[in-house]
């Protein structure tokens, strides 16, 4: 099984781990992530005004490439996933945006939101299946108490991202169970880490990350996992860090016994 894969800017630089572990794991699980040939940054932020078009084109380009290849598009970074999935929804359901974007793009065949956008976690849940994943785990992380940190971008707006119940998600918990560890459920796993605000308002980000980490710790989490490089940065940088934070792909690679391959 081949998927078109969009890594995004950060996975090429500061979050190489997230990418490398995912690729190694994919190989072990029997699917391939085929990188988009010429991708540009998704913009990191879903365009703030409903009248913007130019900032959506990078996503449309990627989506169209997947469509032309007849593949689903897989993403890893929460922000990329959020942006591309929402742009895809616009292309499917908002006629104005669809026609304006296609006017710019001048594609051989107009793009109308045909591509299926999947987060890597969704591939694990819906394509591989957590039950199958469990069978393929060679090095179960038994006894580890892990808190899932979802953040905001993966889940909201729930109606469009349709990723999981935005107020009580379970996908990462199910993932944690599949790799043999014990999920720790805590209420702030879907609250914002502060995001980009940490650039100029460090205190704000700190207090938000503290709430998250304290809550997770309170419920017994020994570590947190996330899918987002920015969440990772904030949780590491802005808290008194005695709860380590990992990318979920790192634990996946470890459980599958392919961690060294990635390194």
């Amino acid at each position: 099984m081949k998927y078109t894969y969009y890594p995004g800017c950060t996975l090429r630089t500061k979050a190489k781990d997230l990418d490398a572990y995912a690729k190694a794991s994919a190989k072990a699980l029997g699917f391939e992530l085929e990188e988009v040939t010429q991708w540009q940054c998704c913009g990191g932020v879903y365009p703030l005004g409903s009248d913007e078009i130019a900032t959506k084109l990078s996503s449309v380009r990627v989506l169209n490439e997947a469509k032309e290849k007849g593949q689903d598009l897989v993403t890893l970074c929460s922000a990329c996933h959020h942006v591309i999935k929402r742009v895809n929804d616009d292309m499917k359901n908002v006629p104005d945006i669809q026609s304006r974007a296609n006017n710019y793009m001048k594609l051989p065949e107009p793009y109308k939101g045909e591509t299926n956008v999947l987060h890597f976690l969704e591939v694990l849940r819906d394509r591989v299946g957590f039950d199958n994943l469990k069978k393929m785990v060679t090095n179960p992380l038994t006894g580890k108490k892990i808190g899932a940190y979802y953040g905001c971008l993966l889940l909201r707006p729930g109606e469009i991202l349709a990723f999981d119940n935005p107020e009580n998600p379970t996908i990462i918990e199910d993932f944690i169970k599949a790799i043999g560890a014990t999920p720790v459920v805590y209420p702030y796993r879907n609250e914002c880490c502060g995001g980009y605000i940490s650039l100029k308002e460090k205190d704000m980000a700190k207090s938000m990350c503290d709430t998250i980490v304290e809550s997770a710790k309170g419920f017994g989490a020994e570590m947190l996992i996330t899918a987002c490089p920015l969440c990772m940065y904030n949780l590491n940088k802005n808290t008194v860090g005695d709860v380590p934070v990992y990318y979920f792909t790192e634990l996946l690679a470890e459980a599958l016994g392919v961690k060294e391959d990635a390194e």
């Binding site: 119940n165 107020e167 009580n168 459920v185 209420p187 609250e191 809550s215 309170g218 419920f219």
Partner: protein, 662 residues
């Protein structure tokens, strides 16, 4: 050619402000076949109707067009006026120039032009009208009440007291409904059971009332005055006549893990159970999905311990067919599912409960024997937070668009009861608006604040976060202080939106009673006929029609009973004469019409016809006017054009089309 009189109503300024009434009269006067045309302030008034009578006499009118409000308002009025003037009432047509014209258009020229066209269409139709004569149908002097809650019980009692037989069909094992689950009632804090149980007993003992519990309506046929209903009496597995209600079976039953419906799943019940102690009838049922005997064939303990020999595992569902003249729907409500509201942690914490669950917690017969305690650890709470409007007043695909109406009052009640019984417990209520219209209602709410010190904060709760120590952290806004609050609570109570009981949808379909997008049954007129369904002979009682509290429900239940009594008191009903009629010269006896008729009103007979001098025997369709309801399905299905609908004939409708497209 008819001699038609046209009357254009001003309806005060309702029509005249947008439609140039004088101009309509001027143009319409020119129409062929119109021999009289005038306008008047209020055609529906006594004086307006007198104008019709005068004109019929003076101008020898044969048909009448009234340009006025919707025929759904005053068609009957004008038909009666025509009758008084000596005309056949079906020689009247209404041009709806209010709801379909003056009220929805702003431009006078446009509206006037449209009014003229609508009048022309009505004139074209009247030109082809023929006198029609209603038949008669009988009235079965028995009423059916669907639902045995307070609404159904009250309706049944009122109908029975007037001397008519009433059957109540209740789907659960006991009558009593939601009210039996309540602890106290507002605004006087009567104990709910204390005022409900006497009514339940009265209904059960009433010689005119027959109660089918654990039963459902399976099928409804017929029409006003003459409904035939199949009632499915579900197998109780207990003989109603033998059981003494001793309760030993329930004690001994080894399967005790089924969530109690009556206690909203807060504790468990046995597989053989009566929902609550005062249940009527006091005869248990066996829940076959939970019963070990039914699941494995082993056990049979209840049969062994039953002294009366009442247990019968072989019982099967029984269908009872009854005839009724009137049907009252009183199916009530349920609270919405909270799966879309996980920010309140309802599914994550046992200490986040709905208000209806709190009723059970507060009730002496409930899961905590009436002690206010946290359901997670049984601890006495120090602080309880109430959240209003959970799922009400939403337009976001998660909740309901309407106000559930009862929550403000029951929350004040809960807060007051808690503060009264446990003065040490702090109570905070987050509200958007406090809505307390009703006699002594606002006073009640103010007492909660002023006498009982309940802390009302204008704002909403954004998140309830369960804490490692078992408490709940409530994050909310205080709009008057412009603050965001984070407060610790031990319990959170959600004023959950109510919605019509799920079974109402199927019942409405069976009754062909209309239902709105929220599954509330539609009343015939929002203001003037609030307890009648547009479907004749169907009446509405209680929350199935819209959210309401107990006093309102009881009032509406009485009103529905009066309407049903008014129907049952008649010996005969006039039937709608707008029925199908087959032209035997055109009919080829193909049976297509009978196949589409939902009422079985069409049969075939062999008649001798004289077709252009040729006499022959032919098989032709014959419509039974007593059964035909006048839908017209047969008229379109008929391949030879033999079938037509009186009052809405092909020629009449085509004349209207022509007039509009002219």
């Amino acid at each position: 050619m008819q001699r038609i009189g046209v009357f254009v109503c001003h309806c005060g300024s309702n029509i005249a402000a947008t439609v140039d009434v004088k101009k309509v009269v001027e143009i319409i006067s020119q129409e062929p076949s119109v021999v009289h045309c005038e306008d008047y302030q209020y055609m529906c008034s006594e004086a307006g109707q007198a104008k019709i009578l005068d004109a019929v006499k003076e101008k020898n009118l044969s048909g009448i067009v009234v340009c006025s409000c919707s025929p759904r308002m005053h068609e009957g009025t004008f038909r009666k006026a025509a009758e008084r003037a000596g005309l056949n009432p079906y020689m009247v047509e209404i041009a709806n120039i209010r709801e379909h014209c003056s009220w929805i258009h702003k431009d006078m020229e446009e509206a006037t032009e449209k009014a003229v066209i609508l009048a022309r269409a009505a004139i074209a139709k009247v030109n082809l009208n023929a006198p029609l004569f209603p038949g008669e149908s009988r009235v079965t002097k028995r009423a059916l009440v669907i639902g045995g809650g307070i609404a159904g019980i009250q309706t049944a009692l009122d109908i029975a007291d007037a001397g008519y037989e009433v059957d109540i069909v209740e789907k659960t094992p006991s009558i009593g409904g939601r009210m039996s689950q309540l602890d106290k009632t507002f605004p006087t804090l009567d104990c709910s059971a204390c005022i409900l149980t006497p009514k339940m007993v009265e209904a059960a003992a009433h010689e005119k009332i027959n109660i089918y519990t654990y039963s459902e309506v399976d099928k409804v046929t017929g029409f006003v005055g003459d409904f035939t209903v199949d009632i499915r009496k579900k197998a109780r597995s207990v003989d109603m006549d033998k059981c003494t209600g001793c309760g030993v079976c329930q004690e001994k039953c080894p399967s005790k893990k089924t969530p109690s419906e009556f206690n909203r799943g807060l504790n468990n019940r046995s597989a053989i159970y009566t929902p609550f102690a005062q249940a009527i009838p006091n005869v248990p049922v066996i829940d076959r999905d939970a019963c070990i005997k039914f699941k494995t064939g082993k056990c049979g303990l209840c049969e062994k311990v039953c002294q009366a020999g009442a247990i019968n595992y072989d019982q099967v569902d029984e269908i009872v067919t009854e005839k009724y003249g009137a049907i009252v729907v009183a199916t009530g409500f349920d609270t919405i599912k909270l799966d879309n509201y996980d920010e309140y942690a309802y599914n994550q914490s046992k200490d986040v409960i709905t208000s209806l669950e709190l009723e059970r917690v507060m009730n002496a017969a409930g899961p905590t024997k009436g002690h206010l305690e946290r359901l997670s650890d049984g601890k006495h709470p120090e602080h309880i937070v109430f959240v209003q409007c959970v799922g009400s007043r939403c337009n976001d695909n998660r909740g309901k668009s309407y106000c559930s109406k009862i929550c403000c009052m029951y929350t004040a009640k809960h807060a007051m009861l808690i503060r009264d019984k446990y003065p040490d417990v702090k109570v905070t209520v987050f509200y958007i608006d406090v809505r307390t219209p009703g006699k002594n209602f606002d006073e009640f709410y103010r007492r909660a604040v002023e006498e009982y010190g309940v802390n009302y904060i204008k704002g909403q709760v954004g998140k309830v976060a369960p804490q490692p120590d078992g408490s709940l952290l409530v994050q909310a806004s205080d709009l008057l202080d412009n603050k965001q609050i984070k407060m610790k609570a031990d319990m959170v109570v959600l004023a959950t939106a109510i919605e019509p009981e799920a079974s109402v949808r199927g019942i409405a379909t069976m009754l062909t009673a209309s239902i709105d997008t929220n599954n509330f049954l539609t009343e015939s007129h929002a203001k003037l006929r609030p307890v009648e369904s547009p479907t004749a002979g169907i009446f509405l009682s209680g929350v199935c029609q819209g959210p309401k509290d107990i006093p309102e429900t009881v009032a509406q239940a009485g009103a529905a009973a009066v309407k049903a009594i008014g129907l049952l008191a008649k010996d005969k009903l006039l039937t709608n004469p707008c029925t199908a009629k087959s032209d035997e010269l055109l009919c080829n006896g193909c049976s297509v019409c009978a196949n589409v008729c939902p009422y079985g009103a069409i049969s075939y007979e062999v008649v001798q016809v004289n077709d252009h001098g040729i006499r022959e025997d032919r098989r032709v369709a014959r419509v039974n006017n007593a059964l035909c309801q006048g839908c017209g399905a047969c008229t379109v299905a008929c391949p030879s054009g033999a079938m037509d609908l009186q009052g809405f004939s092909n020629r009449q409708i085509i004349a209207e089309v022509d007039a509009i497209c002219r």
